[in-house]
């Protein structure tokens, strides 16, 4: 009788440990995935911004449009400058898709048919905009976003905050 009771308690403990382990592994995997996705997106935006000659941010700070001159030998727009033609544009756009404000950051080149989602579970940090042109440096775009998720039936959340800036090296100041 005692052995049976102990065995039953051990079984309950085993189930609890397995349950905890499963959620913990999910938690760890999700966090690792967040770290990788946030880093990749950040560096992609920084790299693309570096080679653009002009950029534009929407009023709500959700859209960043970068313009590129793909052919520096040809003055496409005929303004006398060979570096500032807009041969193609690339757009990074944050779109809120969930009730808690979390959404997707997508990337689209003007050569692409449809935008590609590069980040999910993204949302702004507090009241800061995702993209913002720096007031003191017209070459600088401040980027701030957070990845946040909570796996169902799991009390813990996975989170990463990114607060950085990208700089345009081409083009002229103030353009």
């Amino acid at each position: 009788m005692i052995a049976t009771t102990v065995m039953a308690m051990a079984s309950v403990a085993f189930v609890s440990v397995m349950n905890f382990s499963g959620y913990a592994m999910l938690d760890i995997t999700q966090q690792t995935e967040f770290n990788k996705a946030a880093s990749n997106t950040t560096f992609k935006i920084i790299q693309r911004t570096r080679y653009s000659h002009t950029f534009e941010v929407s009023n709500n700070g959700n859209t960043l449009v970068l313009s590129f001159d793909d052919d520096y030998i040809t003055d496409t727009d005929g303004d006398g400058n060979f570096y500032n033609d807009t041969d193609h544009q690339e757009t990074f756009e944050y779109a809120s898709t969930d009730v808690d404000g979390s959404g997707t950051i997508s990337h689209q080149s003007s050569a692409n048919v449809a935008p590609q989602a590069i980040l999910t579970n993204a949302l702004p940090i507090g009241s800061s905009a995702i993209f913002e042109v720096n007031g003191q440096n017209p070459r600088q775009i401040d980027i701030q976003f957070r990845l946040l998720n909570q796996i169902a039936n799991n009390g813990r959340t996975q989170k990463i905050d990114i607060s950085t800036s990208a700089y345009r090296l081409n083009g002229q100041d103030g353009t």
């Binding site: 052995a3 403990a13 560096f43 920084i46 700089y167």
Partner: protein, 156 residues
């Protein structure tokens, strides 16, 4: 010749033995092994969890390091200047930043010290950006070095 339908007393005894349950001692030994194994699993998972959280902070700080490197690049390269001297010792700049914000984005939990050093080198200046922060009582430093010159910078 013995009949196939008869059974010997020895085989009946074996059947009786197979019907025994676990003794308390056997259960206790199993339970002890299970508890030891669980402690190991808990420990491993806790460490893994801390590593993944630490990696999140690392990624956030790395974004700051890259930001600083890009900012220096965007500032332009002119020699001689306050940054880009011919002095072999070079010069350093220090900056304080924060990462890992609360829900409202008003308070941060990790302070980062970013130090940039500029040293003359062949073909330009070697710029090293290092960020040091403390997370869970552990100090971590992320460092990158790049060559800045007229070709890799902008003429602002």
């Amino acid at each position: 010749m013995p009949s196939l339908l008869t059974s010997s007393p020895a085989s009946m005894s074996t059947k009786t033995k197979l019907q025994r349950g676990f003794t308390l001692v056997e259960v206790m030994i199993t339970l002890t092994l299970f508890i030891l194994m669980s402690i190991g699993v808990f420990g491993s998972i806790t460490v893994l969890h801390q590593i993944s959280r630490r990696q999140a902070t690392y990624s956030s700080v790395l974004a700051l390091v890259i930001q600083k490197q890009e900012a220096i690049r965007a500032d332009g390269y002119t020699t001689p200047s306050a940054r880009y001297t011919s002095d072999a010792e070079g010069i350093s700049e220090q900056q304080e930043k924060s990462v890992s914000w609360n829900a409202s984005g008003t308070e941060s939990s990790v302070d980062v010290t970013i130090v940039s050093t500029f040293k003359v080198a062949s073909g330009g200046h070697l710029v090293t950006v290092s960020a040091t922060y403390i997370y869970n009582d552990n100090s971590t430093t992320i460092e990158t070095t790049t060559l800045i010159n007229n070709y890799s910078s902008t003429s602002s």
